[in-house]
């Protein structure tokens, strides 16, 4: 399963990379191919390319904020989830999202 996603928080310093790393790590453990883009204070870091967006089975947006370039994910299954919970329980978040998509 290919999962891409974007994390973003207001100041863009701490939660953004923490959530991205947590989800990527959890993905590795669960056997999903997870790539997270960070939209923090540095702008876009580790950006999802249009090709990667096209191949993804699932898009996770770990933020309640404005995300740039959402057009990439047109016609994709896009899930929004709270960024804090992604840091606390990344594996559970991935499992829940995957289950929701497979339903």
């Amino acid at each position: 399963m290919k999962i891409v996603g974007i994390s973003a928080c207001p100041a863009g310093l701490a939660h953004t990379p923490m959530a991205a790393k947590a989800l990527e790590k959890a993905g590795k453990k669960l056997g999903y191919d997870v790539k997270m883009e960070q939209q923090g204070s540095m702008g876009q870091v580790n950006a999802i390319t249009p090709e990667e967006a096209k191949e993804a089975d699932l898009v996770i947006i770990a933020s309640d904020q404005k995300i740039m370039d959402m057009e990439r994910f047109a016609n994709k299954k896009v899930i929004r989830v709270d960024i804090n919970i992604c840091i606390k329980a990344p594996e559970a978040v991935l499992q829940k999202c995957v289950a929701a998509v497979n339903k």
């Binding site: 207001p10 701490a14 204070s41 309640d64 606390k88 329980a89 559970a92």
Partner: protein
């Protein structure tokens, strides 16, 4: 309705996210000439507005910073509107924010103007349908025109006076509170405890949001306490890993090094992994440290005369910067001592991801056109 507020908060946060770099850049450009002036024994550069010479140049540079600070409402409103309805809303948002500054409708006015601009554009995109051939008119002409027109009518004519009155009363009350001794101390204690409570969670963010909102109103004092308290928890655990090495496992000692940096630039989240070892004990200790640090800051007389910059180096932007540093040090040392007395960090973290119930995780699907 609940969804609307949740969404509105997201837009507000986005606006503040874009506003922060502006404030930080502008404040430092105000602060540095002031400090150079202070080093030369001059407390205010205002008398050098006219004339020539080095001090006049410093004053000119300081003025540029103030221009930036004057843009806060404008930028805030512009990017809230952008967050709601993308490019076509930005212009109306900027205009609304600038009008809010001009009519003294302030932060409140800027936010209202931004929501008018944003939601008008969103409404227009959905409900106004033009013939195919004229489609390009929508984002370029129709949406900006309707949104700006509505902002002009509501913010310029109808709400200008009432909002200015509300805003001015509010500002007067908050200014009073942040200048007088006892109420300022209480404010410091509450903000300090809130910031250090859940480190980046909802309580911390509400205090932080309030502080940043007040920056747009030229009320800088609360942010002095907030910035002070933000540095305390990560710095505290960095200090703790050095003074009580044997209480920490190898990986925590490693994390402690990172916390020096987190403390220095002001990221409370650095303390999270430490706090999670025994939150029921460490959260109260953190809150106590944040409150005491901010209180020390207040008692020793750290003052925000220009928008304060976060992090330990932020002391340059604070009048009596040493008091700010003393507050941070006091809070951090207090936590470092109490935390290592109460908790042995060699044990494993109690909270793991398994403990979170799947049902607690809220997810929602989103449609991308």
């Amino acid at each position: 309705m609940k969804d609307f507020f949740k969404e509105a908060k997201g837009h507000l946060m986005t606006g503040i996210g874009y506003m922060l770099p502006l404030i930080i850049g502008a404040s430092l450009v105000v602060a540095i000439p002031k400090i150079i002036g202070l080093c030369m024994g001059i407390t205010s550069l205002d008398p050098y507005a006219e004339g020539t010479g080095f001090l006049h140049i410093l004053k000119l540079i300081e003025n540029v910073g103030w221009t930036g600070i004057g843009l806060i409402n404008t930028v805030l409103a512009g990017f809230i509107a952008y967050s709601i309805a993308d490019k076509p809303a930005i212009g109306a948002g900027f205009i609304g924010g600038a009008i809010a500054s001009n009519t003294q409708a302030g932060f409140l006015g800027a936010v209202i103007a931004a929501f008018i601009a944003g939601y008008t554009v969103r409404w227009a995109k959905k409900h106004i349908h033009l013939p195919e051939s004229m489609n390009s008119m929508m984002p370029l002409v129709i949406c900006p025109f309707i949104a700006t027109g509505l902002v002009a009518i509501i913010m310029g004519a109808i709400l200008a006076d009432p909002l200015a009155w509300i805003n001015n009363s509010l500002v007067a009350w908050l200014k009073e509170m942040s200048t007088s001794g006892t109420s300022q101390l209480i404010m410091a204690i509450i903000l300090g405890a809130m910031i250090a409570s859940d480190m980046g969670g909802p309580i911390n963010k509400s205090a932080w949001l309030a502080g940043n909102a007040l920056l747009a109103e030229n009320i800088y004092q609360p942010n002095v306490f907030i910035n002070c308290a933000i540095c305390i928890p990560p710095l505290a655990y960095a200090i703790a890993t050095v003074i009580r090495k044997n209480r920490f496992s190898e990986s925590f000692r490693e994390a402690g090094k990172g916390n020096w940096v987190m403390g220095f630039i002001g990221i409370t989240e650095g303390a999270i992994p430490f706090t999670l070892v025994k939150p029921q004990v460490l959260v109260p200790i953190n809150m106590l440290g944040g409150a005491v640090g901010a209180a020390v800051c207040s008692i020793l007389g750290a003052k925000g005369d220009i928008p304060p910059v976060g992090g330990i180096y932020g002391f340059v932007s604070i009048t009596n910067g040493w008091a700010y540093l003393a507050g941070i040090a006091a809070g951090a040392v207090l936590i470092a001592v109490l935390a290592t007395l109460a908790v042995d960090f060699n044990q494993q973290s109690e909270e793991s991801s398994e403990e979170i119930d799947m049902d607690e995780i809220e997810i929602s699907f989103e449609d991308i056109k």
